[in-house]
Amino acid sequence: MCALTILASCKREGTLNANLDAIDQNIITNKNATDIWLDQNFLNPYNIETKYRFDRFELPSGKNITPPSVDQVIPAMEMVRDVWIKPYEAAGGADFIKRIAPRQFVLAGSAEYNSNGSITLGTAEGGRKIVLYVINSFDKTNISSVKQMIQVIQHEYTHILNQTVDFTPEYQTVSRGGYEANWTQRPLSEAYSLGFITQYARVSPVEDFAEQSSNMLMMGRVQYNSIVATVPADAQVKLKKKEQYVVDYFKTAFNIDFYKLQKEVQLALFKVSAPVLHRMIGPGVGYTTLYANPSTDSNQSAEFLGLWNTAKTSMTAGGFVLKDFAMTFKANSVMTLRYTFTNAAGTTTYFADADYNMALNTTTGVTTFTLLTTQPTGTTYSNMGVINARMAGVNSYFSTGSFRINWINQIIPGEIGFLGSLGAFYKTTNASSYFYGTMGN
């Protein structure tokens, strides 16, 4: 009763008519072109505020962090929209980001420097705000700059999704015992061998999940699979398990096809920088295999197909059926060529292997194949001796002159940069002579 008295007594003193405009730090009275653009692209459609003007209270206290340059804001946020938001809308529905999103981006021009010598490129707080650093060195035409920034958002956004729907506790059992607070001191190779996709993933299961998901999105399947293939066998099992947990999580929690989302992210990145095939070849990098069946392929070049058919006829005369060939791109510039063939009845399948040195110029994308003088031993390699004379024309095609590596989408329209995309090796002396195959790993 006495409290009521007090309230009443105060209330009677008059209405509150304070004008707090001068005290409220967030009122921008003179909106410039950048403010208006942010309103139109983030605030109005998604109810996401972007704060680029320096506000010490939005940043870690006691740290010296410089603000962004105004002209860096729109280029950075364009990439946030195109590489982060749009793919989620494509895979999760037009209102996905409207429903679950951070409410605020805070932009910082520099990095945050930590006492352990590392620098922080992004942080998220309670699903509400994401701080993006190093905006001043951002370059929207530089793919690594774009990847670095969006990686941060994908990582932090995974946390936000996890705060909405938790991931399965079994996830943390996959790399049990590998979590390590002192992650900066541990090498990447060790992280890989324990089934972590990055060093930072070792901090905790929550960070592991965010690293796993964000790296799969940003690397794309080609690169991710290629990295997984280079780690020890038991770690491969762990990484594949984690991949499956992530895919299942997106499906069950949000009804999102993770691989579709991953593809949309890659397509957005391809707009920043179109995928270059010869930079996507090799273990740990991207594609490791090319598979071709010239007899059924729609568009092998006349010269190559002619040689293939001659070889096929010769094989038939020898009592074999030539099926297809594959190239495997290995470490140390080794390419293993494999022909697959059967006996006349088609009941037994044989492989014939030969190792070549693949001298790829990573700048021009031009390569040669030179048969290695010392071949590994084993049945598949000795099989090549059996059919060598019959395959001579095709073998000679591979080892003669040089090839320029590129997609074949000018001849056979199709997607580039994904698993199953078609890659071709064009003779540098005559671009209408080539062979192509399905790129995979």
Binding site: I6, Y52, T66, S69, Y113
Partner: protein
């Protein structure tokens, strides 16, 4: 019943307290006072239509000048004396006067001022995480006449704004700052030995402009010791301004102006014009700055050299021959004399080669020095490989360095023009030798 009474009394008190608060001390609500303060400072900043000359003295040292022009729509354009580009190309960023605990001027997007605070050392050097320890948010300390004094919020750097004249604004917009800096830097590079003689005694006081770190120093000799006083400086359209006045015997020096006609710096002290003079040789005697500016005099591997007397050459040759004839067949190479003016020690490091393998022998000394600059070296126990050549070195050490008094002065290499340091025995004036100063 008692309790009810107590509560009633309490509520009465509170009621009274509420009521009392209605009367504001100065008749203004807090938000009104803050609005007024923010408006006052914003108006002050935008009030100078010809902009402001700004002098920023970071907590980390040095000084930097800016030209700032604040617009009413929270934009600010800048020039700065940080580098060639900032001095000639204006850059626009934003600012805001904020009502934090105190009214605060926040340069809230990246402009030239932030370069100093940039935590990435690749931007402007300094320390990772901090740059050169500077601020870009300041609280207003004082508005006085045409000046505004501010203090950095994070690191307490000092910022002073002074209204620019129309002529100054025009100059900044026509590369005046860059031209001023280039003229001065070229002069400073061409004239490494600058000094003033501020009083009738004729004492030469070295003036040192470290324009990379923006530190200005006065250096002079007093009773054989070097005295130094330093402060930050910033370039202006007409010269340099010091962070705070440097005092020499009661004379305050707070700026230097470049005299375009006479091509000299000058400053006014109590109505008297003091000019900076140039010298071909260093201003201070070598003995005062051994161990301070230069730590080592290195005599090269040679049989003859400019400034080496016949006596030294003979004695060096004798030592060299003895070593070579010794059981290890050692070849005498260069000799370095390294001074520590605080410990009053000097170490003679002798390079000796056996074939192509280099070994060193250290001969440690302590020394005393008179105010006139006469050194007396006292030998300690040779260490390391020095033991192998102690006997061989006698003509140079025991017979001269360990026993004589020495003066150490400048010597100019007659062909290269390089400045060398020269030892000269007081007792045996025919014993002199030189070496490179480092």
């Amino acid at each position: 019943m008692k309790k009810i009474l107590l509560y009633s009394l309490l509520s009465l008190t509170l009621f009274a307290a509420c009521k009392k608060e209605e009367v504001l001390v100065d008749g203004q609500r807090p938000e009104e006072r803050i609005t007024e303060a923010v408006t006052k400072y914003t108006n002050a900043l935008t009030g100078s239509t010809t902009g402001w000359k700004a002098f920023l003295y970071p907590d980390g040292g040095g000084g930097y000048s800016f030209y700032l022009n604040f617009s009413k729509d929270n934009k600010v354009t800048m020039y700065a004396d940080l580098d060639i580009d900032p001095a000639q190309t204006s850059k626009e960023s934003t600012y805001k006067v904020r009502a934090l605990q105190n009214p605060t001027l926040s340069f809230d997007t990246y402009g030239y001022m932030h370069i100093l605070a940039d935590p990435n050392p690749a931007t402007f050097g300094g320390v990772a995480g901090w740059g050169v320890y500077s601020d870009f948010e300041f609280t207003f300390d004082k508005l006085s006449g045409d000046s505004i004094m501010l203090t950095g919020k994070l690191l307490k750097s000092k910022l002073i704004l002074v209204k620019a004249s129309q002529a100054e604004q025009k100059s900044y917009n026509e590369k005046g700052l860059l031209n001023s800096i280039m003229t001065q830097v070229n002069y400073l590079d061409a004239n490494p030995n600058l000094y003033i003689q501020p009083d009738d005694s004729g004492t030469r006081i070295q003036t040192s402009f470290d324009y990379n770190n923006k530190v200005f120093s006065l250096v002079w000799e007093e009773n054989g010791e070097v005295q130094t006083t330093s402060t930050g400086f910033a370039f202006t359209l007409t010269g340099i301004v010091l962070k705070e006045p440097l005092v020499y015997k009661g004379k305050n020096i707070s700026e230097f102006t470049w005299d375009t006609a006479k091509q000299v710096y000058f400053t006014m002290v109590n109505g008297t014009r003091i000019e900076i003079k140039t010298s071909v040789t260093p201003i201070l005697p070598l003995h005062t700055i051994l161990g301070v500016q230069y730590s080592t005099i290195t005599a090269p591997n040679a049989t003859t050299y400019p400034g080496w007397s016949t006596d030294f050459q003979t004695r060096r040759a004798a030592a060299a021959a003895a070593m070579l004839a010794g059981p290890y067949a050692l070849r005498l190479d260069r000799m370095a004399f390294k001074f520590n003016s605080i410990q009053k020690t000097m170490v003679l490091t002798v390079d000796i080669y056996q074939g192509t393998s280099r070994f060193v022998g250290d001969f440690p000394y302590t020394y005393t020095k008179t105010t006139a600059g006469v050194f007396k070296f006292t030998a300690g126990t040779p260490t390391g490989n020095a033991a192998l050549i102690v006997g061989n070195m006698v003509p140079l050490t025991t017979q001269r360095l360990n026993s004589d008094n020495f003066t150490i002065g400048y010597f100019t290499h007659p062909t290269t023009g390089a400045l060398l340091g020269q030892f000269k025995s007081v007792e045996n004036p025919g014993f002199t030798f030189t070496g490179a100063l480092q």
